[in-house]
């Protein structure tokens, strides 16, 4: 399959002025010229094929948005190489713009003072969208994102959620070859998030759009993507399918038991020692609730038997670690720096 984009040892660093705290510090900051170098993206490499659906995740400040800005040609990399649809983004920005759709969750691309409909019309001309394509994308967006009542409203009068829906529609009106969506569900309520995800998936199915989504809501990824890139402090920590991600990082499962009576400290100690032999570890014991975590696959029957033998159990469930928990754990790992 044809490559949609290719990134090789991509870097971005920038200088940040060092500011001292307090009023005097702010005053000194005007005169001082002390800077520190911040490495936002550190030699990352990956490729995405046409039609792939990729999620880009990472903590705040991990370099997700910076990567997206380089891929869209807004900012210039400080090192490495990148090619999007055969173009060098920052050198051929305008040509690339015709073929990509971008949502920056916190930056509306709609014209602020005039009704939403007007921006859509402008985009139709600007991206020379053929009538037959516009007919489909416009109608689909209006229907799927419930935009009809918003079309005549000036953008500045829309709520964040309403604006986000309109912005997403605007980014996909020209059925772009690649859609870069930076936090497309930020500030949306649960039902609208669902609407947005369905719309993205439908548009992807219809037009074969390559998707690159950054988000903090992992449901955006699990419901729309099949590949994951994990950035950690500017470096690429994982690149692979969601299944492989779980395989690699979800090496722990849990037994969650609801006890008939809270276990005594002595009983807990004994239980803990016994479970250790089978790779189990009690991680929570709060009142009636007891959670055992285990790493070794195949340990569940033995651990369950021990639990049932030692305690009176009212209810018991086996939980596989979900993707959100895995990511949270990765974020919480102590830094190697």
């Amino acid at each position: 399959m044809e490559k949609a984009l290719h990134v090789d040892h991509l870097c971005k660093s920038y200088k940040r002025r060092i500011r001292q705290p307090g009023l005097w510090g702010a005053f000194k900051g005007i005169l001082s010229s002390q800077f520190e170098e911040v490495e936002a993206v550190k030699k990352i490499s990956f490729s995405i094929k046409r039609g792939e659906k990729v999620g880009l995740i990472g903590e705040n400040g991990a370099g997700k948005s910076t990567t997206l800005k380089m891929l869209t040609g807004i900012i210039v990399p400080t090192g490495g190489e990148l090619e999007v649809l055969g173009l060098i983004p920052w050198k051929q920005r305008r040509e690339l713009a015709l073929n990509i759709g971008v949502v920056f969750g916190q930056r509306p691309q709609l014209l602020w003072d005039i009704p939403v409909r007007e921006t859509f019309r402008l985009l139709k001309t600007m991206y020379r969208i053929p009538d037959e394509v516009y007919e489909v994308t416009y109608k689909e967006a209006v229907k799927r994102l419930s935009l009809e009542p918003l079309l005549g409203t000036p953008v500045r009068q829309l709520s964040l959620g309403q604006r986000m829906r309109c912005d997403l529609a605007a980014a996909l009106l020209h059925a772009p070859a690649i859609a870069f969506l930076d936090e497309p569900t930020i500030g949306l309520d649960l039902s609208v998030k669902e609407q947005v995800r369905e719309f993205i998936t439908d548009m992807q199915d219809k037009f074969g759009t390559t998707l690159l989504i950054t988000t903090h809501d992992l449901k955006d990824i699990t419901e729309t993507c099949d590949r994951l890139l994990l950035l950690d402090k500017g470096a690429l920590l994982f690149d692979g399918s969601l299944k492989n991600f779980e395989k690699k990082f979800a090496n722990e499962s849990r037994i969650v038991a609801e006890l008939q009576q809270p276990a005594s400290p002595a009983a807990l100690r004994k239980l803990s020692e016994e479970m250790k032999r089978y790779g189990g570890r009690i991680i929570t014991s709060e009142g009636h609730r007891l959670v055992v975590e285990y790493k070794k696959s195949g340990s569940a029957p033995a651990l369950t038997q021990i639990l049932l033998k030692r305690q009176k159990v009212a209810d018991l469930t086996l939980e596989k670690t979900d993707i959100e928990t895995i990511v949270t754990r990765i974020y919480r790992r102590p830094s190697k720096d």
């Binding site: 900012i75 210039v76 920052w90 073929n99 014209l111 600007m126």
Partner: protein, 275 residues
């Protein structure tokens, strides 16, 4: 899957800029209260030089330019100043500061031209209000406010178009500083001060002391107001008119190229604010 799109043809670009122009013009009417406030401010701004000069002529009537010539000049300079009012630095500065510049750069159109198109919509909106000043001046000054001849009027129109381009390109060159300072305010103030001083809004350059006059002649600002008004009123004739128009054209080309070079540099080092 849609086929990959290649660059827009010149006709498609023209259509895009026209569409953007129409939307910008509509946006100009969005803030009625602000429009009225700026109109009142403009009336005040252009009434002050008239009142000042009225006082000067009361005390000393034998100046290099007679009162009959000076008042039409000041009236037209005020109208032009208003028509040339554009929010380029404010608009771009604000977008740089808030990181919204990112969405401008994602459009498949030229940033410098797209901003120019928006400046034209500012100009048309302000131009209509400038015409209102003109007609109010006509009530007081009568036919003295008319052009010196039909040819002068024709050449004035051409000179005014060039003045508009110069004004926009000056703003565009200055606003490049906002890519480094992340605020358009200081730049707006600096350009505004130079503009007020050297454009001829307060007085024709002939009244300026030597060094200021020389500086004014070497800078592009006088070509935004003094030059078109002088042509309109017939203060310059024959080849002198064409000399001034050629100078204006040279400034348009020079400032356009300077703006482009600076823009390329600014965008190369730009950091989008706000993550």
């Amino acid at each position: 899957m849609r086929a990959l799109q290649t660059q827009l043809t010149p006709l498609e670009k023209l259509k895009s800029y026209t569409s953007l122009f129409v939307r910008s013009l509509k946006a100009s009417f969005a803030y009625r209260a602000s429009t009225i406030t700026s109109l009142i401010t403009a009336v005040f701004m252009y009434a002050v030089p008239l009142l000042l000069w009225h006082q000067v002529y009361k005390q000393k009537s034998d100046l290099a330019i007679s009162q009959e010539k000076m008042f039409p000049y000041l009236l037209l300079a005020g109208c032009l100043n208003y028509a040339l009012g554009m929010s380029v630095e404010f608009r771009i500065g604000q977008r740089i500061r808030q990181g919204l510049i990112a969405t401008d750069l994602l459009k498949p159109v030229d940033f410098q031209i797209a901003q120019g198109v928006q400046a034209v919509s500012d100009g048309i909106f302000n131009g209509v209000l400038g015409m209102m000043f003109f007609f109010s001046g006509f009530i007081f000054l009568g036919k003295d406010v008319f052009p010196a001849s039909p040819t002068a009027f024709l050449l004035f129109n051409f000179s005014f178009l060039l003045a508009f381009l110069i004004q926009y390109l000056i703003c565009f060159v200055f606003v490049q500083g906002a890519f480094y300072t992340y605020s358009g305010y200081g730049i707006f103030a600096a350009r505004g001060a130079l503009q007020q001083t050297f454009s001829g809004i307060w007085a024709p350059l002939i009244f300026y002391p030597g060094f200021l006059k020389t500086a004014g002649e070497w800078l592009p600002f006088r070509h935004t107001i003094y030059t078109p008004v002088s042509i309109y009123l017939g203060w310059v004739q024959g080849n002198e008119v064409f000399d001034l128009i050629y100078q204006q054209m040279a400034w348009v080309i020079g400032l356009y190229l300077l703006g482009r070079v600076l823009m390329v540099q600014s965008l190369k080092q730009m950091e989008v604010q706000g993550g």
